[in-house]
């Protein structure tokens, strides 16, 4: 039998009456209409002016780019060659049998002695469900050292960037996934900090904090979704020994379906190596 949703209450008629009992003066309404018409006209003029300025400035920028491009053409080729050499020297092969690329936060921050390292391993093709359909995707194996936390993430997210204790993945800065290790803390403290941070950024709780089943990957965890202006953001936090692994993510609401399956897969793939 189908449940009929009924949300009627004792106050329904009084609430409707409240709407009728608020009387907005007609003179104010007319005044506001005039003000809106005026604003629409000025906004139209402004838009035309902005279009002209944009056109002029893009021509100017193009001329500058062409000038500098021509002037520094030779220099840029030389610089590019030098950069390639430096990068290849910096790259380290960790294991000759199973080549992994190691990126450390030392690339950008030199002060952290026990720097977090991300080891990029092999690529695997996996089949998983997305919106009820089987979908084959390529995922990359990663290992966070020295914490020995391994996980898999879709190749589409490209190479990660490491900043201090954070590993950041991004697609056009619209879809982002960040993994962070917070040392010597507990789950509650970590969650409280994340909630505070999201609220300070202006996000509203979309769902209440919920527990993540430890059957997924063996870790006790909690997750929560927030949203703001059609952008969803959230976190999943796991207690890993004395530390907490925080996974934060952000995506436009339209991309939700794809991200759910990516994040579910990431969660299930987490394990200690």
């Amino acid at each position: 039998m189908r449940n009929q949703y009924n949300d009627s209450s004792y106050f329904d008629s009084q609430l409707k009456q409240l709407d009728k009992d608020i009387i907005w003066k007609e003179s104010r309404k007319n005044k506001l209409e005039k003000s809106i018409l005026f604003s629409m006209n000025s906004s139209r003029k402004k838009m035309r002016l902005v279009a002209v300025l944009k056109f002029a400035s893009s021509i100017g920028i193009l001329a500058i780019v062409l000038f500098f491009g021509y002037t520094f053409y030779t220099d840029s080729i030389t610089y590019h060659d030098e950069a390639s050499i430096t990068r290849s020297e910096d790259s380290q092969i960790v294991d000759n049998h199973n080549p992994e690329v190691k990126v450390t936060s030392d690339d950008s921050v030199e002060t952290d002695e026990a720097a977090l390292e991300i080891h990029t391993g092999s690529v695997e093709a996996v089949t998983r469900k997305n919106e009820g359909m089987d979908q084959e995707v390529e995922v990359i194996n990663y290992l966070i050292q020295p914490y020995k936390i391994a996980y898999q993430l879709d190749k589409v997210f490209g190479a990660p960037e490491v900043y201090e204790n954070e590993i950041q993945y991004s697609i056009d800065d619209e879809y982002t996934i960040t993994l962070a290790i917070i040392e010597d803390t507990n789950l509650d403290q970590s969650i409280s900090n994340l909630q505070e941070r999201f609220e300070a950024e202006g996000y509203d709780e979309e769902f209440e904090l919920e527990s993540v089943s430890s059957e997924e990957n063996g870790f006790a965890g909690k997750m929560q979704y927030f949203s703001q202006n059609r952008v969803d953001k959230g976190f999943i936090a796991y207690e890993v020994g004395d530390d907490v692994l925080e996974i934060t993510f952000r995506y436009p609401v339209e991309g939700g379906d794809g991200m759910y399956s990516i994040l579910n897969f990431l969660r299930e793939s987490i394990h200690l190596r």
């Binding site: 003066k25 906004s43 059609r230």
Partner: protein, 175 residues
């Protein structure tokens, strides 16, 4: 932008401005600001008219713009309000400048009680019970899931009842 857009916005103003103004007023309880945000709602609709897909009702679309502007305003006001509450005694009267708006005596208690609810409760009551949007339309305006609209409304009604009891509102019980 063609004159057609301007005409359409003007038509929408005649149809929905009053409803939008009252919605914002019930949300923020500031007459002048309610007019300013109503103004901003229609200007934003004008500027973003090209993004309006005629699949949705213009009223729903305008309300979603009004909702976003109102929530942004409430968020910005929060720290200021906390400071005000610390340094000044909280006003319990409802000022009603006669030149802008009038609220009939019979509904003032309800208006006050609504103002004491948290904004998500207040909003869902206004949209569902006062503006009579469907669950689906409310979920589109608030950008919530339909489940969240139902759950929030389910919690909001007893919260309103509690506030009305504090106000001494005469009623028997909610159904």
């Amino acid at each position: 932008m063609p004159d057609q857009t301007k005409e359409e916005i003007t038509d929408w103003y005649h149809l929905y401005s009053e409803s939008i103004f009252k919605y914002i007023l019930m949300m923020i309880h500031d007459y002048q600001m309610a007019e300013d945000l109503t103004h901003d709602t229609f200007i934003k609709a004008y500027k973003n008219h090209h993004t309006f897909q005629h699949k949705a009702q213009p009223k729903t679309w305008l309300f979603s713009i009004a909702h976003n502007l109102t929530i942004d305003y409430i968020r910005k006001q929060k720290p200021l309000r906390i400071l005000q509450e610390i340094f000044t005694a909280k006003k319990t009267s409802v000022p009603s400048p006669d030149d802008i708006v009038e609220i009939r005596e019979s509904s003032i208690q309800l208006y006050r009680a609504l103002s004491k609810l948290k904004s998500s409760y207040r909003e869902v009551i206004i949209l569902r019970k006062i503006k009579e949007f469907s669950i689906r339309e409310t979920s589109e305006i608030l950008n919530w899931s339909e489940g969240k609209v139902k759950t929030t409304l389910y919690r909001a009604i007893p919260a309103l009842e509690k506030e009305l009891l504090k106000e001494g509102y005469p009623h028997e019980k909610s159904i």
